[in-house]
Amino acid sequence: MPIVKTSLLQDGDTPVAATLNQPYDDVATASATIDNTNTRDNWITRFHFAGNNACNDLYTFKYQGTADFATNSTSYTTINVAGLSEAVLNYAPSTNEILRVESSGIVSACTPTISWDVALPLADRGKPNYYAFQLLLTYNDGGPSATVSLGEWGYSFTTMAGGTSRYETTANGQPENTGVPLSYQTFQFSGLYIENAGAGRTLEKIELQAKVNYSGNTLRITRNNIIAVRARR
């Protein structure tokens, strides 16, 4: 469909103002709101996005050394190997905007002491064997900052899955009773945050936290990272 129209002039024609003005006026009209009429498919590239309106923004944290962070806390503690494991956000999302969060890392030489039920009658069902991670989002609605968990993910110190038939015996330490204690396992998980709190909320940071279920077991974490992808609307 022609947007800018021109008139065919032949020898001897006397040009009139409307004919001569036509193509310029058409361009002026069309260029006020260029749309997908007569634009080529696949023409938009990354180069067409202004920097502060890019479709995606990345916020990351990474520690990739070999030192480790040890914890036997039964409440969530932010991992701190060579600085807190946190990705700083500090932006105000628009309504229904999505923040995708991923995290991964590896535990190091853990020291589990008990992987079985602590006492009969087996009420714990192997709970001492477990440890868990959490991604914690801190936000601010104008007053004091608040937090929301983006998810919790659990792992176990040994191959033993708990159950009712395994508990401390005189054969303590044997694989059939305790499971094979595992170290250097990777952990990896992801979550989503959808902004539906209305205008005015500022997302401040995301922290990676860990805890154990039994304080006698020590969890050690070495390399870890946080990746947050802001999907702008």
Binding site: N21, I34, I44, T45, C55, N56, T111
Partner: protein, 249 residues
């Protein structure tokens, strides 16, 4: 800002060449260099307007627009295994200072970045250590890492964010150093009768997963791959996935 016609052609009088030439000149400048973001309408473009990424299957090479994910997934193929084995003499199999890296071919796309970009690589696999015939104190801690080469430089750049192990056992009550613990006790070998406790066999299978983010990579050609430094004589990866996402900066 939209095009504005500088000269209106009057309906009477002698046609002035400068009026026509001035309009054409302004039009040329607008078309060539003055179309701005504000000239585009809002909510009028669909995804078909975005430039498509490109994939060359012969060279397994990808080029991206931005934020587009791709990669191979064989997570539903239980018998499609990627085997890895050490190629080190037995005498060195308990020596962690001798890495021999084997590339896992299906995790090796070539990516062409037209300008600087961030890349997120996501990898997941089931890993099984199957056989180690070396006598005492054999190591079982086969290491997996992501690495890449850049342009025509063949030196591997290892990404420590992806450091992971196919097996590493801890000791109950004591923190064991990496590489020193065998799942089969002091003999370091599986029983010839194959009567190990099932827990030991479970310990030799694990899921390895990680995401690695590489920030501000300069433009150019990249060849990625996950590499295995095998310490056992037979091991393999089962279900696995590899994904690369490019975010131009």
């Amino acid at each position: 800002m939209a095009y504005v016609k500088p000269n209106n052609i009057p309906s009477s009088g002698v046609l002035n060449a400068d009026d026509i030439n001035g309009n054409d000149e302004e039009l040329k400048e607008y078309i060539n260099q003055n179309i701005a973001g504000g000239d585009y309408g809002t909510n009028v473009f669909g995804t078909e307007e975005f430039q498509l990424g490109d994939y060359q299957p012969i060279t397994n090479e990808y080029s991206f627009v931005s934020g587009i994910a791709t990669g191979g997934q064989v997570i539903d193929q239980q018998i499609d295994r990627a085997y890895w084995t050490n190629t080190i003499k037995k005498a060195r199999l308990n020596d962690n200072t001798l890495p021999v890296w084997t590339s896992l071919y299906e995790t090796s796309p070539a990516i062409y970045l037209e300008r600087s970009a961030d890349i997120i690589i996501t990898f997941g696999t089931t890993s099984v250590s199957a056989e180690q015939e070396v006598a005492t104190s054999a190591f079982w801690d086969t290491t997996l890492k992501l690495a890449y080469t850049y342009n025509d430089n063949n030196e591997l750049n290892f990404i420590e964010q992806s450091r992971s192990y196919s097996f590493e056992e801890a000791s109950m009550n004591t923190a064991a150093a990496a590489g020193n613990v065998s799942p089969f006790g002091t003999t370091g070998k599986p029983s010839p009768a194959g009567d190990e406790d099932p827990e030991i066999k479970r310990g030799l299978r694990r899921w390895i997963g990680w995401s690695a983010v590489l920030r501000n990579l300069p433009a150019g050609h990249y060849k990625f791959s996950v590499y295995a430094n095998a310490k056992v004589e037979e091991g393999y990866l089962g279900a696995r996935q590899f994904k690369a996402e490019v975010f131009y900066t």
